[in-house]
């Protein structure tokens, strides 16, 4: 058993020292993934600490961080912990009124938003020296986490260094995951669960941490596969979306055989969902804890008890009160709410913390019976207080009484109506005054005149839920329903939507068309070509467009990167191909010194003259230690999106295979969509491969350059690597377009220009970026 963590500061220092050359953090931003090794992280933390000290932010001062997960977030967060600066982390969706209240209560010395974090790197670049260390005591406050309040005052949970250290120690002893893991943390660092399990826990076991900047299920799944993620930290809502997406497909081929562990918590985990993954031999580790208990009360190990939230954690005392409420005691339990003695006293009874949840203990395993708080936690981790919604509903004349609860992860309202009215209208009315995360998503009518209640008059919500759930389940929203909803919400037509309705009749103009496509792409997680929808398109046509042969099946292929394949490639190129070409062609290279200036990897942009372009550029790149990857048209080379008989399909498959085998080609283009093209390119670049691209998208017939297609602009803006212009002359005569076998004799030249750094593209649109690159190539 590893030693206990003595302090979070020690944890951080050990982690940084033990992983000097190891990548410790990874972050997906757009199409690229950025990473940082221990040594660099340590340097940046030191610089940030000095920066904060220079701004007169010292131990005991408070700062607010309101940003999404990133490497910069971790740098700032760990800097504060090491300097004893109190962090107040807030969710990015915190609304402005709540933010104001918290600012007034906390009086922070600084507020850091996402933009400020990004600027921090630049601002601390030139700082030198070592930060001063002040002694940090166990009872010193580490952070104050606000649990979203109702319309009343927000409650700031004060957590000391001792709390977090004790909580972490309990967590690592209860759930020992000593194996080396790559963990994807999908939860915001403003939540205690994410901090403890997605950061400190991973630091203790030297896991490699990953962050991603999207909640799009499709992208999460390919990220897990491409980066070979072993484990993921998430809430049941996200887990459900992933399951829905992969339900009828192979988990193994979509997530990879290395994906083994799911760490889940935060809200109720449906047993069917837990069983789905366990039956596929993926461990589901469910834990239970509150912000007030530093995120740990109980936790399952790799082989846990389905349906239970785990064994009582080490060094945490748990007992069940007479009314079934779970009470907790331990060093991990917080000292109290910030500046709120009254509320603090309400949650403690004889030094035991009242969790507000009901449960029972069987064989040292904890089972949750009901969330006493009745708080609904949405799939994105936001708290919804049913009381607020019930208040709105109960004020309406048609409603006698209402009960809002969580049903199948939705905000569900159960209504007792005074008279016979259309409940849909009432719900719509109510939703108008509710915040977006509070809106009622589904409802049912209570058949009796009152709800089941306790002696004190509180509605027994779990009973209500049981009774409405035992009714025949409402069909989950079908694909057609989803489509109708999106059309209805975007076009806002009063007309009824049926398959034959023309979208233009339903009120679609060019602006609404873009809005519609945008919403459809989000809802169905696909890409839709705007030109496919015109004034004649019907709802039926739209359905077909969305259902088009799932190009979603196309994944990034790693076999061309396999060492054996690489060897085959080298043999083919060096022993067969180049010697053959040398008989006919002498290529003179100039500007090769520019290759030493370009950082690896880079994107090489050239005019296109013949099929020999790639091999001849390849040659000089390989000499200078660049690893090339060639984007090849997804339709013309790989046959994706093509129709034809079996022979044509086989021919295309062979052609694609050969391109991948002999030149490390990968699909890129309209038929797999812009998004995928960029994803694949980003993935290659992440793996240090350099791209060779010909933006003319055709070979010249007369030696003159054709205008560049805009794809190169997209790449320049999104890939964050240098662009190196290349000019080829003479090859169009040696191997004219159309010829593939025997070249003419002749000489050719390849001129390499100086690299254009990514900063030059930051302020441009992709059109001007394309024009700039075209100019540079022409000028060579």
């Amino acid at each position: 058993m590893k030693r206990d963590v003595t302090s979070i500061q020690n944890l951080i220092e050990n982690f940084l020292n033990n992983n000097k050359d190891n990548i410790v953090l990874n972050q997906k931003k757009g199409y690229r993934t950025f990473n940082i090794a221990g040594q660099e992280l340590k340097t940046k933390i030191n610089k940030t600490r000095i920066f904060l000290a220079n701004k007169n932010i010292k131990k005991g001062d408070k700062i607010i961080i309101i940003a999404s997960n990133s490497i910069e977030y971790v740098i700032l967060y760990l800097s504060c912990i090491l300097s004893g600066i109190i962090v107040v982390p807030l969710d990015v969706f915190t609304d402005l009124t709540l933010l104001k209240k918290i600012k007034n209560q906390v009086k922070p010395k600084a507020v850091f938003q996402t933009k400020d974090l990004e600027n921090l790197t630049k601002q601390t670049e030139n700082i030198k020296g070592k930060p001063k260390n002040s002694k940090i005591l166990p009872k010193d406050i580490l952070q104050i986490i606000y649990t979203s309040g109702t319309t009343g005052d927000p409650k700031g949970v004060v957590l000391t260094n001792e709390n977090i250290t004790a909580g972490l120690n309990s967590a690592v002893q209860t759930i020992p995951l000593k194996i080396k893991l790559k963990t994807l943390n999908l939860l915001p660092l403003s939540h205690i669960f994410s901090q403890v399990y997605g950061l400190f826990f991973s630091m203790y076991f030297n896991h490699e941490i990953f962050f991603i900047d999207t909640i799009q299920t499709r992208k999460i799944i390919s990220f897990i596969k491409n980066k070979k993620i072993n484990g993921v930290i998430l809430v049941p809502g996200i887990l459900q979306s992933i399951k829905n997406r992969l339900e009828k497909k192979s988990i193994l081929s979509n997530l990879g055989s290395q994906f083994r562990i799911i760490g889940v918590g935060g809200t109720y985990l449906p047993i069917e969902l837990e069983k789905f993954w366990k039956s596929r031999l993926i461990s589901v580790i469910q834990g239970y804890g509150l912000t007030e208990t530093s995120s740990i009360v109980s936790g399952n190990t790799i082989i846990g008890k389905t349906g239970s939230v785990g064994k009582i954690a080490e060094n945490v005392e748990v007992k069940i009160a007479k009314d079934g409420e779970i009470l907790v005691k331990g060093k991990n339990v917080f000292p109290g709410y910030f500046k709120d003695k009254e509320k603090t006293q309400q949650v403690f009874k004889n030094n035991w913390f009242k969790t507000g949840d009901l449960g029972e203990i069987k064989n040292n395993y904890l089972y949750l019976k009901e969330r006493k708080k009745d708080i609904i936690i949405t799939s994105s981790g936001l708290n919804v207080y049913p009381v607020d919604i019930e208040l709105v509903l109960n004020k309406m004349p048609e409603i006698d009484e209402s009960c809002v609860l969580q049903k199948e992860n939705q905000v569900h309202a159960v209504l007792i109506l005074k008279q016979k009215t259309n409940p849909e209208n009432i719900i719509k009315q109510a939703n108008k005054t509710l915040l977006s995360h509070q809106k009622i998503q589904s409802f049912s009518i209570w058949p009796e005149t009152s709800f089941p209640k306790t002696l004190l008059g509180k509605i027994k919500k779990y009973q209500v839920l049981e009774l409405i759930s035992s009714k025949p389940k409402a069909e989950p929203l079908t694909y057609k329903d989803k489509l109708s909803n999106v059309i209805h919400n975007t076009l806002k037509s009063s007309q009824k939507i049926n398959l034959k309705s023309k979208l233009s009749d339903l009120g679609m103009d060019s602006l609404k068309r873009v809005e519609l496509i945008s919403k459809l792409e989000l809802t169905f997680e696909t890409e839709i070509n705007e030109t496919a929808i015109n004034q004649y398109t019907t709802v039926n046509d739209l359905q077909k467009i969305i259902k088009e042969p799932a190009l979603s099946g196309i994944k990034f292929k790693t076999w061309p990167l396999n060492p054996l394949v690489k060897l085959t490639r080298i043999i083919f190129q060096n022993f067969l191909f180049y010697p053959y070409i040398r008989i006919f062609n002498k290529t003179e290279y100039s500007g090769a010194e520019n290759l030493k200036l370009a950082s690896k990897p880079a994107i090489f942009v050239s005019n296109h003259q013949s099929v020999l372009d790639v091999p001849m550029i390849n040659k000089i790149l390989k000499k200078n230690d660049f690893k090339p990857a060639i984007p090849a048209d997804s339709y013309h080379v790989f046959g994706i999106g093509g129709r034809g008989n079996i022979f044509k399909k086989l021919y295309m498959k062979l052609r694609g295979f050969c391109t991948a085998l002999f030149y490390n080609g990968y699909p890129f283009g309209e038929t797999i969509g812009t998004d995928k093209s960029l994803e694949f390119t980003g993935e290659m670049i992440d793996r240090d491969y350099s791209i060779i691209i010909f933006p003319e998208a055709q070979r010249t017939r007369d030696g003159k350059m054709n205008p560049f297609k805009p794809g190169i602009g997209y790449l320049a803006l999104n890939m964050n690597v240098p662009i190196v212009p290349i000019k080829i002359t003479g090859l169009h005569k040696i191997m004219p377009a159309g010829r593939y076998a025997i070249p003419n004799f002749g000489k050719s030249k390849i001129n390499i220009g100086s690299p254009i750094s990514p900063e030059k593209f930051e302020k441009l649109s992709y059109i001007t970026a394309t024009k700039l690159i075209e100019k540079k190539v022409r000028e060579l």
Partner: protein, 104 residues
Amino acid sequence: MKIKIGNDIVQIERIANLDEPTKKKIFHKTELNKSKPETLAGIFAAKEACKKVFNDLDWLDIEIKKKKNGKPVLILNDELIEFTNSDLSISHDGDYATAIVIFT
């Protein structure tokens, strides 16, 4: 001399109320930087006017830049345009923004 003309008028509010993903489909980040609603609406009208002339232009194939004196300038994906000259004028007042574009 061949001339082609396009024109559009749009309610400023409709553009201001668009959500982020939709805006990203229509406007380049260089255009979004000038984020006054009437300016953005004017840019939208200009793009729509161009699209009326050339049906297969996409929103992002068009970029509107402003010269130092405030005059808007049209930048297009070259290969789609057979016309070499273009001129553009944008205006707004109250609730509406309008634009007119000429190609020769």
